[in-house]
Amino acid sequence: MIAALRKEFLLQWRTRAQAVAVFVFGATSLLLFSFAIGPNSAALRQHAAGFLWLGLLLSSTLTLSESFHAEMENRALEGLLLLPVSPRVLYYGKALANTIQLMLLGIALVPVMVVLYDAGTTRIPTVLLIIVLGTAGISAPGTLYSAMTSQARAKQTLLPLLLFPLIVPVLLASVKATSFAILGDPMEQGSRWMALLIAFNGIYWSLCGLLFDRVVED
């Protein structure tokens, strides 16, 4: 497991220029969303959480579709499987690495959101926790689907096509919880959405780990 994680972080560190490009893409999409609403600061602040998560979601398809590129280039994944490294270990290593990369991206996009939409918040730990849970929820099925689509034609189209409907609950829960953190949460409803995120993570981190073996073996 440690070797698998080390491999993931080495690979990500060597391609860090790509992570910067993904961040620029995410920030640009946040800028574009505000043009869709118009210069109405109250409306922008109202929808800030939604825009943040949509930006993060769109950027995540770039990160996820790229994450199996290095594995397929020289069939390195097959090489590891033949060592043999357990597919489960490879899955969790990759899903964890994707979570961390998306989490950092999410944290980097928060200041952009605060500046563009005037959506400041003092509940920093809560927002951090939502970002961790939300990006974990995207990564768990996203990593599996990325492994699946990397074996198909038209991979760039298929990944969002399969992933977006699936993570509707993650998007809903993350947006709601973030909104409550920004706009105030007198009824303490945010924790209910966090519980949903935790449940989604629990289900998909275990289910995808079970299914990954069938996906990567011929």
Binding site: P141, A152, L161, P165
Partner: protein
């Protein structure tokens, strides 16, 4: 599957029966049953909408079951059934969304009201469309079968989560309709249509999986005994 390679009698019989049930049920629902007290004539769409919804759920369960069965048995007859279940499920889901929108417009004044049932149907319809696209883009039959089974299981497990999250997100809607909450005059057309769609759907699934398994048996044919040039 290959029990009856000639004229497929069973699917045709099921489809005929289904069409008859639907015709009678719809006639009763449209012309014989009294208009509903509060909602009036609009309510008559329920005679087809509610049976579609029940059968859509059955088709999703069927696809999920076929996907699980394939992963456990690796028997390609389940892959053929999965293909049929996915297509029929996508068709019923599409019909359900259209009927839901038609019902919503006169009732609530909008085509789409983000009702949890309507929304989770739409989400699952998108998932099934994605899986059907995946089927087209993987050429190797065993790989295709495994990937589609995995994607179907993941999408089906998501359905209750989507349903509950949308319900929390937007809590307004009437109770689920079932014969118990509808008065007895409405039972007969509802039941007839429910069985009509069930028979029609079973016929479609049987027919479609027969076509799929014929294609699969070509794709999975064993190697020829000897090559022609070696015989020469």
């Amino acid at each position: 599957m290959a029990a009856n390679p000639r004229f497929p009698k069973l699917p045709h019989a099921l489809m005929t029966l289904g069409v008859i049930c639907l015709l009678v049920g719809s006639y009763l629902g449209l012309f014989v049953a009294p208009p509903e007290h509060y909602m009036g004539e609009v309510q008559r769409i329920m005679y087809v909408h509610v049976p579609t919804a029940w059968n859509w759920m059955l088709s999703v369960l069927f696809a999920f079951g076929a996907a699980m069965a394939f992963l456990f048995t690796s028997d390609f007859k389940w892959d053929a059934r999965l293909e049929a279940g996915l297509e029929v499920g996508a068709l019923l889901g599409f019909l359900l969304c259209c009927q839901g929108a038609i019902w919503a417009k006169p009732t609530w004044g909008v085509w789409w009201d983000w009702d949890p049932r309507l929304t989770s149907t739409a989400v699952l319809l998108c998932s099934f469309a994605g899986i059907l696209a995946l089927r087209r883009f993987v050429d190797d039959p065993p790989k295709r079968a495994v990937l589609c089974s995995v994607a179907t299981i993941i999408a089906a497990v998501d359905l209750p989560i989507v349903y509950f999250s949308v319900r929390w997100w937007n809590s307004l809607h009437q109770m689920q309709s079932s014969p118990a909450t509808v008065s007895s005059q409405f039972h007969l057309p509802l039941r007839l249509n429910a069985f009509g769609i069930l028979f029609l759907m079973s016929g479609f699934i049987a027919m479609r999986s027969r076509i799929a398994s014929q294609r699969l048996s070509e794709e999975l044919a064993p190697p020829p005994q000897e090559f022609a040039e070696e015989l020469a």
